[in-house]
């Protein structure tokens, strides 16, 4: 009958290397550690103040009482800052060899040569490799790690940093604001279109690691940029925490696409705040794939602030054994004629849990705004579950909100049909699943679509039969 497939819970990026970092904060979080991080980074006083204030905020705020189960997340067991190397490489030869080997295994240098305009590779707390094509640099594009941006572009940085997601936004945004390190800073000047994607890759290597990158993307008027991020980590029996903050500003007529392929190891809490502001006629697109992690809570948001601004979130979430993907989207319509689209595709299997949690908000000024939300879930067995939790806030009568949700199983009839043409049960199931997520994969650049399909196939192998 069906071909024997490897254990599906196998995670293919679970290897680790033996690189010795040059500085480790040790476990736990204190003002002293925050001061130490800021000192090592040689930051200006305002940033230290910002961090310390954020830390107070973090202590003050209660844990969220909604979303996933965070009982096993012990803030005292996390290492908040690990500095892997003295300096950042501009070529891969300058990167410590163990780390380079890790990124080689992940295929990053290869991808860079083939189809990327710029690459940033973060290992633990710091970006260890960074490069961008000369032609983008010549056009005035800034793509750098966020620490460098604070040093080299202080005015631009200070003007926007923390304005879209203030530390008070939520407990994890406060935490990130206190201990942030690494991440990407992008500025695309007026009218510049980056046709080829920029990519950042985030890798955790140590046990009990906390990774808190901070990303700020500023797309000036009429510009375009596509930013892609990927993430993986080794498997440990203890938990790690990834808590990023991503702020994006799409100025008038600008378009930003932000693609995430999150494939964290199954011992990682992935608690991320992502928000974009779209000004007049600007377009913000989140393409968000969540395959890994123990618990993900992530709701990419677009604040549609200018007339005619457009926002979209296209996401897939796959939850297997002991995994919970609590993901969704927020669309905040503040201006007239703004439009938003949310397409969420979730798959749960082997007892996994997927939750779609979304917000569609229409302010008083959102005259003529439209939002279309579609959530589809595919449940592969009887142990797995799904929930759809949509919130709507409507302050204006003249808006259109459409919401459609479906939950389905791989149907016996569909399997029979495909198998009657010669496909094995495993192949047939896989084909139905790939078809289910096709609206997502077709939006990825070709190379990523291939990778995504490979990942999903790998995830799905052995999930039946």
């Amino acid at each position: 009958m069906a071909k024997k497939a490897p254990d599906m819970e196998e995670y293919q990026y679970g290897f680790r290397d033996e690189h010795k970092s040059i500085f480790q904060s040790g476990k736990g979080l204190t003002p002293e550690i925050v001061k130490e991080i800021s000192k090592i980074k040689n930051e200006p006083q305002w940033m230290l103040d910002f961090r310390l204030k954020s830390l107070e905020q973090f202590y003050k705020m209660p844990m969220p009482k909604w979303g996933g189960n965070m009982d096993d997340l012990d803030f005292d067991e996390i290492q908040y800052y690990v500095r892997p190397s003295e300096k950042q490489g501009k070529t891969w030869e300058e990167v410590p060899s163990e780390i380079k080997e890790t990124f080689d295994k992940l295929g990053i240098p290869e991808a860079e040569q083939k189809f990327l305009a710029g690459v940033s590779a973060q290992y633990e707390s710091e970006v260890v490799y960074h490069s961008m094509q000369q032609n983008l640099e010549d056009q005035g594009v800034i793509f750098t790690d966020t620490d460098t941006a604070l040093r080299e572009h202080p005015e631009l940085f200070r003007k926007f940093f923390g304005t879209i997601i203030p530390p008070t936004d939520n407990k994890f945004a406060a935490l990130n604001s206190a201990v942030w390190s690494g991440g990407s800073f992008i500025y695309v000047p007026k009218g510049v279109k980056c046709e080829v994607p920029l990519q950042a890759y985030f890798r955790i290597n140590s046990e009990n690691m906390g990774q808190f990158e901070r990303t700020l993307i500023l797309a000036d008027e009429d510009s375009f940029v596509h930013y892609v991020e990927g993430c993986t980590a080794p498997i440990y029996s203890t938990n790690s925490l990834h808590s990023a903050v991503v702020e994006i500003l799409c100025m008038k007529n600008a378009r930003v696409r932000y693609t995430t392929i999150q494939n964290w190891a199954p011992n990682i809490y992935n608690l991320v705040t992502k928000r974009a502001v779209a000004e007049e006629n600007a377009t913000m697109e989140w393409v968000d794939g969540n395959i890994g992690s123990k618990l993900t809570m992530k709701y990419p948001a677009v604040v549609l602030k200018g007339r005619g601004a457009k926002g979209s979130v296209l996401s897939i979430a796959v939850a297997g054994k002991d995994q919970h993907q609590d993901a969704g989207a927020k669309m905040i319509h503040l201006a007239p004629d703004t439009t938003s689209t949310i397409v969420s595709k979730s798959i749960s299997k082997h007892g996994g849990k997927v939750t779609y949690r979304g917000l569609a908000s229409f302010g008083r000024q959102a005259e003529g705004a439209k939002s279309n939300i579609k959530c589809d879930t595919l449940i592969l067995d009887n142990e797995s579950t799904s929930d759809t939790i949509p919130y709507n806030e409507i302050m204006n009568d003249n808006i259109i909100l459409e919401h459609e949700a479906t939950v389905s199983k791989v149907s016996e009839e569909q399997l029979f049909y495909l198998m009657s043409r010669g496909l094995t049960e495993a192949e047939a199931t896989q084909m139905i699943i790939m078809g289910f997520i096709e609206p997502f994969t077709k939006e990825l650049p070709m190379e990523y679509a291939v990778e995504m399909n490979r990942l999903i196939k790998f995830e799905m192998e052995g999930s039946i039969g």
């Binding site: 009958m1 029979f416 049909y417 009657s420 043409r421 496909l423 790939m434 078809g435 609206p439």
Partner: protein, 260 residues
């Protein structure tokens, strides 16, 4: 070698209820057999049970293709052994294009490393689609999604042509077809006639048999084949309906579950 398809004493149930009550049928390559009968007599159950639909449980009997026991095989193994069922209600699969699906189906019959080349495949598929008067855009449409009834039937015949099976079962391929579409589908079937291939045509209208000429005609009632004959049997059914058979055999209600 010519296909040799033998069904002996086949009984099948659905949810514990017996629908097929002992079917016997022998077919050879080159032959076209028609199974006729009113609704509810077990015709489509026979088709689905032979293909291995999980809803039906075969409780007794055998079905062999070239001496191989089909009933021991999973659905996909039956398909790869050469059995093809053109379904009455083909499933729709969103996100999977017709061409991707069909190419995977062809490759499932080939060894790894000997897959059909994309160009060759597309050429073949386009040629067959032309024969069936199908719009080339159906290559890239999602499998059966949004297809009309007639388009689905043509798509079934297209798959049959591409997969080159040994035994073809056509389950009410004529339902929902207008006369032009019926002719096209019949032409497709006739073009596939060969000494190596047998057809089992299930229908309750004689109309289809004007275009696909059967060698043998069987009438099903109450889950059994109650009468067999040559093409003239179909003619008589067209002219006189089924009543005379019921009278001849003393059957009052021909549907399954009603005993004479």
């Amino acid at each position: 070698m010519a296909a040799d398809f033998v069904i002996e004493g086949l009984k099948a149930t659905i949810e514990g209820k017996e629908i097929l009550k002992g079917i016997n049928l022998q077919m050879k390559g080159g032959e076209i057999h028609a199974i006729m009968g009113p609704n509810g007599t077990g015709k489509s159950t026979l088709a689905s049970a032979l293909m291995g639909h999980p809803k039906y449980e075969v409780t007794e009997g055998t079905a062999t293709l070239e001496g191989e026991d089909l009933l021991e095989m999973a659905v996909d193994e039956r398909a790869r052994a050469g059995l093809f069922l053109a379904m009455q209600y083909p499933s729709e699969i969103s996100g999977v294009t017709n061409s991707d699906f069909l190419r995977s189906a062809i490759n499932s019959r080939r060894e790894e490393g000997k897959e059909i080349s994309l160009i060759r495949f597309i050429r073949q598929m386009e040629a067959k689609m032309k024969e069936l008067d199908m719009n080339p855009e159906f290559l890239h449409r999602y499998l059966n999604e949004g297809f009309s009834g007639g388009e689905k039937k043509r798509n079934e015949i297209l798959q049959m042509m591409m997969l080159d099976p040994k035994i073809v079962i056509l389950d009410e391929i004529d339902s929902g077809l207008d006369i032009d579409a019926l002719k096209i589908v019949a032409d497709g079937v006739n073009a596939m006639r060969s000494e190596e291939r047998g057809f089992l045509v299930i229908t309750h209208y004689q109309r289809l048999l004007n275009y696909i000429k059967p060698d043998f005609v069987h009438v099903m009632m109450q889950g059994r084949i109650v009468k067999s004959g040559g093409p003239e049997l179909a003619q008589r059914l067209e002219a006189d309906g089924y009543e005379w058979i019921k009278e001849e055999l003393g059957i009052e209600d021909e549907t399954v579950g009603q005993e004479a």
